[in-house]
């Protein structure tokens, strides 16, 4: 997976695609790509491609939390994106990715669910955020969060008037207000490659690299939002020492700032 | 964590003593130990043991059998497939037993083995990547004690119990054999076959063996004499 270039005494080691270990792949982002969705975004991180579409619906809030709306996230890993996935009900891996993405969104509190409520106990918005992976080439959680957050940031909520007596709902699509988004959680995946007694940290691994480092779901994922950690996930794989842990957190922080810039510039250019 | 002989060890501990001994002489590392790079690591929970000059192993608790070369095991024939019998020995897959690996067997003179028969056999090939293979003869073509076990009663137990009762220092068989006559075959795969003159004696024997699992040598002697006196009708 690596090629060594000997230049005098220094040895530089590169990924198979010529990146350095802690370089990340190029990000290509396009917002509002799907006209039929209420908000959408497509992202390509290297070859990994994820599309996110948000569908708006109205529903009655839960009785136990009358002033809270709903944000439903779902990640689909279809056989389309990789030969590793079979048709049929969502695989365990897809369920775990879904869970991680929704955990990050809830933990970061970037969306205040109270903002989604229109009339307490009567009416609130339901945001169905569906992320579909088109090409699975590693670090899929990173890509999912980028599309999800760009979609949420561009989402416009139409104004709704609700008649308490007649319970009549009027939706005015001409007046739209953006959804308040508080912060921007950005996840970064790392693969830990065990080489005898020391380990090498690979930023933004491809599917091949993930496979070399413990297979599906063994990535370390660190998520930053506004200078706070809103999710650190590591399930098995190679073991990680404290120095490596600190290194990854710093790298993730660096990357989160960069990606945040990318998202903001992209949205500005579009509007 | 560093461990030394006689210690209670957990997987992940390492023993420097073995490494040091290995520099001077050849050492044999047995079950529960594994060499990684320049250290010897423990892989099973138990007690680290040593036999002079240089044999090391970990005594651990286990119920599931993993085939290992040269061990005598007891299996049940589950299938006849052409030239071989498939024998269930309690491992992850069945073991193969060729019909030619019986004493005096030739292509014409096939041994009488039926599905459901119990065989006492030796592991000839046991590798993690291959199907285990059994034989019922030794290297001289003699059957010795191996072969089909007819009648009797077969029961399962933990692997430790078999090792324990086969240990020459264990008083169990020593005390039982003086009380009443019986036949016994113990497979290292945690299966014991017993045969006594009556049902009563067979059950008593089985209970004595199973009861010995967590007892000390002294307690085993007491159990044996108790069972013997119950059997003899002194105590009802």
């Amino acid at each position: 997976m690596t090629s060594n270039t000997h230049t005098g005494t220094t040895v530089t080691i590169f990924f198979e695609d010529g990146r350095k270990f802690n370089d990340q792949r190029d990000i290509k982002l396009n917002v509002n790509a799907i006209k039929t969705a209420d908000a959408s975004a497509v992202v390509k991180c290297g070859n990994t491609t994820v599309v996110c579409g948000i569908k708006l619906e109205l529903a009655k809030p839960k009785a136990e939390e009358p002033d809270v709306g709903f944000l439903v996230t779902n990640v689909e890993l279809l056989p389309l994106c990789s030969s590793k996935f079979r048709p049929g009900p969502p695989s365990d891996h897809a369920q775990v990715i879904s869970n991680i993405v929704s955990d990050i969104v809830t933990n970061s509190k970037c969306i205040n669910l109270k903002d989604l409520c229109i009339v307490p106990d009567k009416l609130s918005w339901v945001l169905y955020c569906d992320m579909v992976c088109m090409d699975y080439d590693g670090s899929v959680v990173d890509a999912c969060l980028i599309t999800l957050m760009s979609s949420l940031k561009t989402l416009l909520l139409p104004s709704v008037s609700f008649d308490v007596e007649t319970e009549e709902i009027k939706v005015d699509t001409t007046i739209k207000t953006p959804l308040p988004v508080n912060g921007l959680p950005i996840a970064t995946s790392f693969a830990v490659y065990q080489q005898l007694s020391r380990s090498v940290i690979l930023t933004d691994p491809t599917a091949y690299e993930e496979e070399m480092c413990g297979g599906l779901g063994a990535n370390l994922i660190a998520c930053w939002n506004k200078g706070q950690l809103c999710g650190v996930f590591k399930f098995g794989g190679s073991n990680l020492s404290t120095e490596n842990e600190k290194e990854t957190l710093a790298l993730a922080k660096q990357k989160s700032k960069l990606v945040e810039k990318v998202i903001n510039i992209c949205i500005e250019n579009k509007s | 964590m560093k461990a030394s002989i006689g210690d209670v060890v957990l997987p992940g501990d390492y023993c420097e003593e073995i490494t040091v001994a290995g520099e001077k002489a050849k050492v044999i590392i047995g079950p529960g130990l594994r060499r990684e790079l320049d250290r010897v690591y423990v892989t099973k929970a138990g007690v680290l043991k040593k036999r002079n000059p240089c044999t090391y192993w970990v005594d651990s608790y286990q119920k599931r059998y993993v085939p290992s070369r040269g061990e005598n095991v007891i299996g049940v024939v589950v299938q006849k497939a052409g030239d071989i019998f498939r024998v269930d020995v309690g491992g992850s897959i069945t073991a193969a037993l060729s019909y030619l690996s019986f004493e005096g067997a030739t292509k014409k003179n096939r041994p009488e083995v039926q599905i459901g028969d119990i065989v006492y056999a030796k592991m000839l090939v046991a590798s993690k990547d291959m199907e285990p293979e059994l034989v019922c003869v030794d290297s001289h073509g003699k059957k010795g004690r191996l072969g089909v076990l007819s009648d009797g009663f077969l029961f399962k137990c933990s692997l430790n119990l078999v090792r324990k009762i086969l240990n020459p220092s264990c008083p169990l068989l020593e005390s039982l054999k003086n009380e009443w006559p019986f036949e016994m075959a113990a497979g290292m795969n945690g299966r014991i076959w017993i045969k006594a003159n009556s049902m009563r004696e067979t059950i008593a024997l089985g209970n004595a063996i199973l009861g010995a699992e967590y007892q000390s040598d002294e307690e085993i002697k007491v159990i044996c004499s108790n069972i013997a006196s119950i059997l003899a009708g002194h105590i009802s």
Binding site: H93, V96, D103, N107, K234, E245 | A45
Partner: protein, 220 residues
Amino acid sequence: MGQKDDIYQNFQLRPMKCELNFLSRSDGSAILSQGETVVTVSVNGPLDIKTTSQSIEKATLEILFSSKGGKPSVADRFKENVIRQTCETAILGCLYPRTGITITIQELEDYGGLLSCAINCACLALLNSGISLHHVVAAVSCIVDETGNIVLEPEYQQVQSAATKLYFVFDSRDKNLVTGFTEGAVGEDMYLEALEKCRAASDLVFNFYRDVVTKYSNVI
């Protein structure tokens, strides 16, 4: 330095009680209580499994988590994944290729820290089963309360009110991080402090394992 030692010595985990070989028919089993939380685990294997799920390189690990309610949910799949990935690093699967190892976890009581209790119990059941392990693992959970204090192995009420929960699993060889995940937002310093505290506390769990094995070793 003295002060730092104090911090590490003053903590304690909830009382742990364990019985090995709790179930008579499985290859390895354990029941573990940490405080009020109780979990039982059974391990079977290495067993024959169907050809499609066999791996020629290592043993296939199958985890079944049943919650007290019995109804399977996405959260259970998540727990299964955490336990599978954690156990996979611990088990020397390369010694048992083309076989399957089944770990069944039954929740009995959940008063906080269910997942760490389940991981510790699974580890004890694996020790009992005699399957070769690379190392043992110890799971420690903690929360950050409103005042910014780190509470190790919190009680039920504390878990309910906590904004941030952190779970860590360490290996016994180098005390490196095997598994870790967080719920809720946390600052970097706080995260690292919690990590170090849990790492130090994992020693208590490893010592507990050793005590349990010692207790059972005299009957082997």
